[in-house]
Each structure stands twice: as structure tokens, then as C-alpha cells.
Symmetry: C2
Subunit: 433 residues, 2 copies
Amino acid sequence: LDDGDNEAARALAEPLHPADIADLFEQVPAHDRAGLAAALGDKLDAEVFAEMNEWVKSELLDLLDAGQVAEIAQALDTDDAVAILEDMDAGDAQDVLRAMTPEDRAAIEEALSYPEESAGRLMQRDLVAVPEDWTVAQVTAFLHERPDLQTDFWEIFVVDEGMLPVGTMRLSWLLTTPPDIAVADLMQRDQTLIPVDMDQEEVALRFQKYALISAAVVDLKGRLVGVITVDDIVHIIQEEAGEDILKLSGAGDGDINEPVFDTYKTRSRWLIVNLGTAMVSSSVIAAFAPTIEKFVVLAALTPIVASVGGNAGTQTMAVAVRALATNQLTEANTRRTIWRELRVAAANGLTVATLMGIGTALVFQNPMLGGVIAAAMLFNILVAGMAGVIVPVLLDRFNFDPAVSSSVFVTMTTDTMGFLGFLWLATRAGLTG
Amino acid sequence: LDDGDNEAARALAEPLHPADIADLFEQVPAHDRAGLAAALGDKLDAEVFAEMNEWVKSELLDLLDAGQVAEIAQALDTDDAVAILEDMDAGDAQDVLRAMTPEDRAAIEEALSYPEESAGRLMQRDLVAVPEDWTVAQVTAFLHERPDLQTDFWEIFVVDEGMLPVGTMRLSWLLTTPPDIAVADLMQRDQTLIPVDMDQEEVALRFQKYALISAAVVDLKGRLVGVITVDDIVHIIQEEAGEDILKLSGAGDGDINEPVFDTYKTRSRWLIVNLGTAMVSSSVIAAFAPTIEKFVVLAALTPIVASVGGNAGTQTMAVAVRALATNQLTEANTRRTIWRELRVAAANGLTVATLMGIGTALVFQNPMLGGVIAAAMLFNILVAGMAGVIVPVLLDRFNFDPAVSSSVFVTMTTDTMGFLGFLWLATRAGLTG
């Protein structure tokens, strides 16, 4: 379609929402993207860039010169412009900033001065703030006089003379209240203030917990400096919640648009770590070589004990990692949670061990072998239940991200304990073929 | 603290937000919750229930009679009341409905008539809709005359005579526009309409994609019947995105407040399935018993080949499951994604196989063994890269949830192919100790 007939491509894209055009760029093969950009011309506007996947975006921005990127950035809200600039090389970003108007440049440079993934980078500086002693009528008149207000807003912030926030009004309250009521009587005094250096994950949890639509951002002195709205937070909630699964499996960013070499770097590092831990745990098997030589069936059964233990550990670990990420698992209930997981592990272990023990005893006509594998499985599932909670909790306590490295430790524990428990018991029981 | 001094407990809870009081109930051990409820008295209001974890909520609701639950449900928005009733036993829910006023009862029964997890259960029926031919002044006057409007609203819907939605106005537009402008000239005609039977996951993706604050819900005839606001969606986005990790590991609901027996049922079912697949793949090892008897070191090396392959498969699978859940992986780019993952797998495979091959050759002074394990690892990582995309995509194509069962198939494939590739090559190469 888009080889040749640019008019037709434009006509098709005409009725689409910027988010849909951004999707189109993501779905098209990489080598067709420049052609599609040329065909769409000014339909590829700033809003489309704001919606685009970061890898596809930086690919397209590489085709533009600093002046064009500056134009796009200036058409966007501060937070979206920052998102474009923070993904660029430092040198290129400087060129773009130099091509911008002084005010826009100052706003973006200020945002970039806050740490990455902090509230300061997410916030929008355009906001409506009114003094406490106004009436509803004054606020309404003030809003009608401000055609320069470009972004939509959902709440009005009430501040004192020092720009310290004292309350919030939702627009629906303003619209349903008689004009002579004072702002001070209408506003809600309890409000969730976001410090400018708060991590975006924490900001997202606040929005979710208190069902916020927008929230005031304050600087270190408590002065109102910006506003964060829920539509920017929705992406973060989605990303942060979905990220755990990628981190636990060592898949890094896990974006299907990421360049192959970047993906290779992240994943191979993880696989090499896993190679190391697999060698450690299988050295246990090597140590029991004389037992296996006497009874080779053990070589086939050993991985089963480790595998089921690994699965049980992963279940507990997934629950613990999610509970930590959503602030459900705290110091107050850690011991209770470990105790809970141990009870679940005991029930699971008894079930699986009984099945496996009876099955093995029957298939190999060897009740002793059945008893040994059942005992080893029960032991390993109990170990898995403990490790599945304790490893992520300890990592979290020492300020490591539990999603990133829990699975290495948990799997190494269940593999080693599975191999060791089974082969040690088999040796003690003097099993031979 | 809360043994005895109820006054003190109340005083401490006084300044807390309902969401914080709900958290308090979750953090307190199960046997103290009834006591805390008694201590807090009417501070444990409907809003607190709306914010509470579902297991803790149903535990507390069990202590109340139908009349008390009905009172709580009536104080809430339809969607929150529905959330309380849908978790109850059918009989208890009937008792509660019978204790409610006829209008509230009708509203909730209607919501319950829609499928679980559909837009119909999430929507709020209170909304503001105005005709197209009004002016801004008329809308403003109308809003001031409606003190009965209980919930906050963020957008006003414009409808024709048949209640079909024709446009939307954000409140900030209304507040900054001169009173004589017609609604028809102010409203946005392009709008995202949510069919009443749409699945909540799909609703959440729309909200996210188009950065919506609220959206009109329409019945099968296209008439406006309700509104969904983003604060209800935020929970769903968080849940749905976080759920994948729990499903992939077979941890079910994965809530640390779930009763132990329910958790046991979900997880043991999964462990038994895994026991089965582990037996299938280790039957491959049993088939090669003669080879292992001749060279027992193979018993220790086999699990390493399977383990690294399993990790590589999990990485690809995690990426594919996330990309499917966020609509990034579609029919248009499936082949491209498989090709991409194969290239990543080739690069990872070469790296890991080289390391392992050289290491094994040196440690065991056996270059042939090094070559065999390197070839088997490269092969298994390529298999893992393919299976990691193809399994979730096929499950999705046939309308199974890829997060639920992908890992069973992928792990079985990488285990089997790891065991088979290595032991078959070792046999062919005639390796002996």
C-alpha cells in the first residue's frame, strides 16, 4: 500500500487518533518506517511522537535534524517533550535545546534537572492556582479571562501567598456551587502532595490508592510547582506492574521493538549467571556419581525432584514479588506470610510427594525408592516455600529490586536442595539397581 | 494497642483516609480484625469497604447481617456496591438485595446481569448528559439546579433525542468558554464509546491508549447508559498487568490474604501438571541409561543444558506474553518477532555454548565432550527462542490465555530437547568415561 501512493496512505490515516498512527508505525517493518513518515507528512505530528514506543520513536527522530525535533518538542506538554529528549544522546539533546525558544528550553532543562523517573520529570507546569479568599464567582471569571491556558485541567489548586498548597477543588464542585460561596468553604483541605523528587513508582501507587485524577507537585520548600494527571500515570502503572515478569525472567526491557544487539546484551548476561548457578547445583550430582553408577535410574529421577521444587518456589516468589511491589507485604506481616506459605507448602508437598512416592514404588517395584523420592520432594517443596518469601523480602530489605534477582537465588536453592536431598537419602538408604 | 483501648484506636484512625484504614485491616492478623472493626465503629464505613482487599472484605462482611451489608452497599457507587455483592454467596447476596430500597436494588441487579469483568459491572449510572442545541450558559444553569448529583464527574456527555451519544465536553472547556457558545460547537465529536459487554481488560487498554479520564458506556442499541471513570480503571490496569507473572507461575490469584486452602487447591493442581511434564521429559534420560552408565558425568551435565534452555525460553516467553497483553504483538508482526527472537537466540546460544564448551573441554580434558555440550546448548537455546514466541501466540490465536499455560509447554519443550539433544549427541559420539 504505502509503496508509491502517498495520497492514499494519507487519506487512510486522516481519521485516525494520534495513538493509532503511532501504532501503525510500530506494526510496520523497520525498513518501511521512513517511507511511511514521508507519506504521512504533517499527519506525523508531535502528538503521534508522544504516543510512540520509545525505540520506534528514537529511530524516527534520528531521521530529523535538531530544528525539526525542537519544533515537535515545543508543541508538546513539558512531560512529553522531556520524554523525547531524555532518550536522545546528550549531544543531540543539547542541539535540540539550543534550537528551542528560551522559555521552553528553561522549562525542559528544569525538568531534566530532576532525577530520571521522578515526579519532576512527569509533571506539567501549566496549572490553575487561586487564592483561598476568592469566591466561586471570582474563580469562574478568572478562568474565562485565560485563553492562554492550553492544557486541559481537572482540578484547581488553592494556594496561600507563599504558593504553598492549602486545598483542592474538583471542577464539578465549582460548577454545581452557588457563585457567592468562598473557595475556602468549598475546597478539600486533605490532599495528596507529591514531592518533586518522588520516584514515579511511588507516585503511581499514591494515585492508585487514593483514586486521584490529578495531584499537586511541590518542591523541597513545599511550594506548588506543577501538576501530575492520571493519564500520564496510567502508562507507568501498566509498565511497572508488567515489568516484574520481565525482570524475573531476566528479559530486561522486554520490548519487541528493542534493537537485537541491546536485547542480546541484557539476556546473555542473565543466561551466563544462570549457567554458573546451574553448574554449582549440578556439581552436587557429580559428587554422588558412585551412587548413580550403582543405580542409573536416579539420574532420571533427580531432575524431577528439582523441577517440582523449582515450580513451587516460583509460585511463592511471584506472589511475594507482587505483594512487595504493591506495598501489601510489609514488616508487619512478613512473619505471618512466611508461616502462611509454609502451611501451603506443607499441603502441596504432602500431595505431590504422596503421588510421586506411590507411583515410583509401583513403577520400579521398589518401595524404598518411593519413600526416598517422596521424602526428598516434601523437603524440597518446604525449602521452596521458605526461599520463595525470604529471598525477595531480604533483597527488598537491603534495597535491591526483588524482581530482578530473586529467581536466580530461589532456583539455585531448589535445584541444589532437590539434588542433594534426593541423592543423599538414596545413598543413605543404600539403593542399588 | 487495640486490645482494650477502643477510644485510643478510634482517635488514631480519625485522620486517616478510607484507603489507609482499609490497609490497616489488611496488615492486622486475621484474628484481630473483628476486634479492630468493633473498636473503630462507624469509622469502618462504606468507603473503607470499597478500598479493601477482597478476601479481607468478605471476612469482615461475614460478621454482619444482611441489613447492615445492604446499608453499606447503598452508600456506595453502583460499581463498588456490585464489587461487594459479586464476591458473596448467591443466597447471601439475595438477602442483601432484598434489604435494599427498590431503586438501588434495580440498579445493582441490572449491573449484575452483565457478564463478570465487563464494562456493565464497572460503570456508574449517575452521569450528566445534555442535548446538543443547548448553550454553555444553559448547561451551567442546569448543573447548578442539580444538588441531587452525588458523584463527581469530569466530562459532560452530549446526546441526541434517542439518548445516542454525539459528543463529549471536558469540564475545563465549559469553564473557559463564553456562555453564549453552543454545546455543538464546543464538544468533541470523536469519542471512545465503550459497549456495555466489553471485557474490562479491553476497556483498560482503551483508557490507556487514548489517555481517557472518563468514557461513555453504551448499550447494544448504542444508547448512553453509564460512565466509567479512570480511577476505577487504574486498579484494573494494575491487576491485569501484574497478574501475568502470577499466572505464568501457576500461583492463581496470588493474594497473600487468600485462605490457605484456596491457595493450596490452585497451586497443587499446577504442581501436579508439572510433575507430569517433568516425568515425560526425564523419561528421555531413562531411555539413555546405557550411555549414562558408561559415562556418569553426563548425569551431572544434562540438567545444565536443560536449565539454560529453560531460562532462555522463559525470557522470550515473558516478552511475548507482555507484548500480547498490550496488543503490541499482532498478526502483522508475528513472523517478524519470531525472526527477531531467533537472531537473539542465535547470538545468546553462540555465547553460552562457546563458554560452556571450552569450560567443559578443559575441566574434563575431553574436547569431544565440550563439542557435544556446546552443540546441544546452541540447539536448545534456538528451540527455546522459537517455542517462547510460538507457544504464547498459538494459545492466544486459539483464545486461551497465553499467560496461564505457556510456561508448561515451553519448559517441557526445553527440558525434553535439552535432555534429548545432549544425550543423543553423546551417544552418537560414543562418549565413555
